[in-house]
Symmetry: C2
Subunit: 351 residues, 2 copies
């Protein structure tokens, strides 16, 4: 007998980083910002007054604020429910070629997921031995290119001249640079959008803006790219950005001082943490993100991951080829990093 | 020379109801609730305190509140960014057969859009001369069934025994009953989910809960249906419900008195408005929704639509076969409906 179950889509569910509910946990596993968002966020709550109405489908207040912050016009900005939403819509909008889309083998885990969801052929390009993206791999014929900069989970930043090298070799497809972590020491490819009409730069409020809980991501690029994404988005769900996101998202951009201050604190903590970690026998690629991807000369990553969890310190471990010797450790407050270092010192001493 | 433009997805952009920005407009065109949400919504804003963290991907606080309100367990509730998101995920999850999905020819305009987006074959079943769904049309072999109850834009309610008739004939596919307007006088098919494990009931906060601006929709059904939807959703975007939605959405369910009061006001206004409209020469199917789908014996709908807009009264007109003699008029406050009736009286007198 046939059943509705026969026609259920088969998927491999994504396993997000653990969100422990117990008290007293030190949470360094999902690259969240340890500092709260600018106080402007909560101040903006008082502006919420029209919940009974549909929100502006174009979220103009928010797109204008982002555009003005980055020196663009609002027609050059697309907003979505976190950069996952933005990237998924970009895949759906731009990657409709028979040729494969290229992205690194070690990278954000959702790229192959969206490619499969939208039946986009793709080819993973192996990082080199030092976990760097080999730009010559992206020269071949393809249906598009996407990579994070800095890459995740490695934290390695690609210099802007190499980003441009990739763009030079790929002018007839859309190239997406996913800059979720760019504010922690990188230079955005945004200026290259003036030169390359096929470049889409994606950023997010979830890391440097401390607003993962609000779900805001955005893409920047030339007006035709942005219009194409809006056409696709409006065609199947017109109202995705809710009123609190629009208002609070716009408000925090007014507080540049707070943004620079918290961003700098994380960078400073990261640089100090790198030195401490070296001293403990860890090695890692040089990170320009708000996390460190670290391996220990003596102790297995999985063992350290489990032992830290016992002590209520959560870091991220990926049980995958090539990276299963590494821990991805989010940069929290200095106190949180001290606690983790203390744990390592204690653990290494006992062994 | 090839261009990235060659691989841009071709879509037909959706045209949402106009959202006029000018002052003094009477807006009866997008079926919004004329009353604000329960004060509990804004009270809940003070609970927002963890924006820096990712929201709970399962939005447990909200799913539990909805489940408890409807006498279900939280495993029987799926939440999404408006019922558009919920319905799109349901299409993607359940409609993977080679056989066509059935839905009415005159109905919510996004059904064919999602079907095309996910390459789902579909067949539109014509409403009868009185705009009723002919339940025998849904007896044939199909890949699934979806219809709104009450239907939109007709406002006609299908009695529960007819809903069950459709379910009886379709036990090997998923049947989705889209109850966006059920709270304005209909009986939900929710109780039938106990009997039919293939029934998914979808509701929304955008109409009877006065929270279109927050974007919350939800599906109710047996645990296996809900789990399948969550698997699909988590597989490509884990965090869609933001913190304000989760907190404010849960809070308003505590205010049953306010809900009943505003719901009743709209029903009372609608019933009074029907009588007034009859007196003016309008005919319409009997509506159990928060809108009336009305045609005039002498005046063309398009003409009335344009003339009303001149007077800053917005109703909805669909320039489509079979329904281009009709206006869809949202039930607002009694004062708003008086203003519309006054406009009609004045307009008819002048002609």
């Amino acid at each position: 007998m046939s059943s509705w179950r026969d026609n259920v889509r088969k998927v491999e569910p994504y396993t997000p980083g653990e969100q422990p509910k117990e008290e007293g946990v030190i949470k360094l596993n999902t690259n969240e910002n340890p500092y709260p968002p600018s106080p402007k966020a909560m101040e903006a709550v008082s502006q919420i007054k029209n919940l009974r109405k549909y929100p502006d489908p174009a979220a103009v207040k928010l797109t204008e604020a982002i555009a003005s912050y980055h020196g663009l016009s609002k027609e050059e900005v697309f907003v979505g429910v976190g950069s996952d939403d933005v990237l998924a819509i970009a895949f759906m909008t731009f990657f409709n070629s028979d040729k494969p889309v290229f992205f690194p083998d070690i990278t954000y885990s959702f790229y192959p997921v969206w490619a499969e969801l939208f039946e986009i052929p793709y080819e993973k390009k192996a990082l080199d031995q030092e976990f760097k993206i080999r730009i010559k791999d992206y020269a071949g014929e393809n249906g598009g290119v996407v990579f994070p900069n800095p890459n995740a989970p490695t934290g390695i930043l690609m210099p802007l001249d190499e980003v441009e090298e990739i763009l030079k070799g790929n002018q007839d497809v859309v190239v997406i640079v996913d800059e979720a972590y760019i504010d922690f020491g990188g230079t955005s490819a945004l200026e290259l959008t003036r030169k390359y009409e096929n470049l889409l730069v994606v950023q997010t409020y979830s890391k440097s803006r401390s607003m993962a809980g609000l779900r805001i991501g955005y893409a920047m690029g030339n007006k035709d790219l942005i219009r194409a994404m809006n056409d696709v988005k409006y065609s199947y769900n017109s109202y995705t950005m809710n009123e609190p996101s629009i208002l609070m998202g716009a408000a925090v951009l007014e507080d540049e001082e707070y943004f620079q201050e918290t961003r700098k604190k994380i960078i400073d903590t990261r640089e100090w943490f790198k030195e401490e970690m070296k001293g403990l026998g860890f090695t890692f690629p040089d990170s320009k993100a708000n996390f460190l991807f670290a391996s220990h000369e003596k102790f297995a990553a999985e063992e350290l991951f489990e032992a830290a969890k016992e002590k209520k310190i959560y870091v991220r471990y990926f049980d995958q080829p090539r990276i299963n010797d590494y821990l991805r450790i989010t940069i929290g407050t200095k106190e949180e990093m001290e606690a983790l270092l203390d744990f390592f010192r204690e653990y290494f001493k006992e062994k």
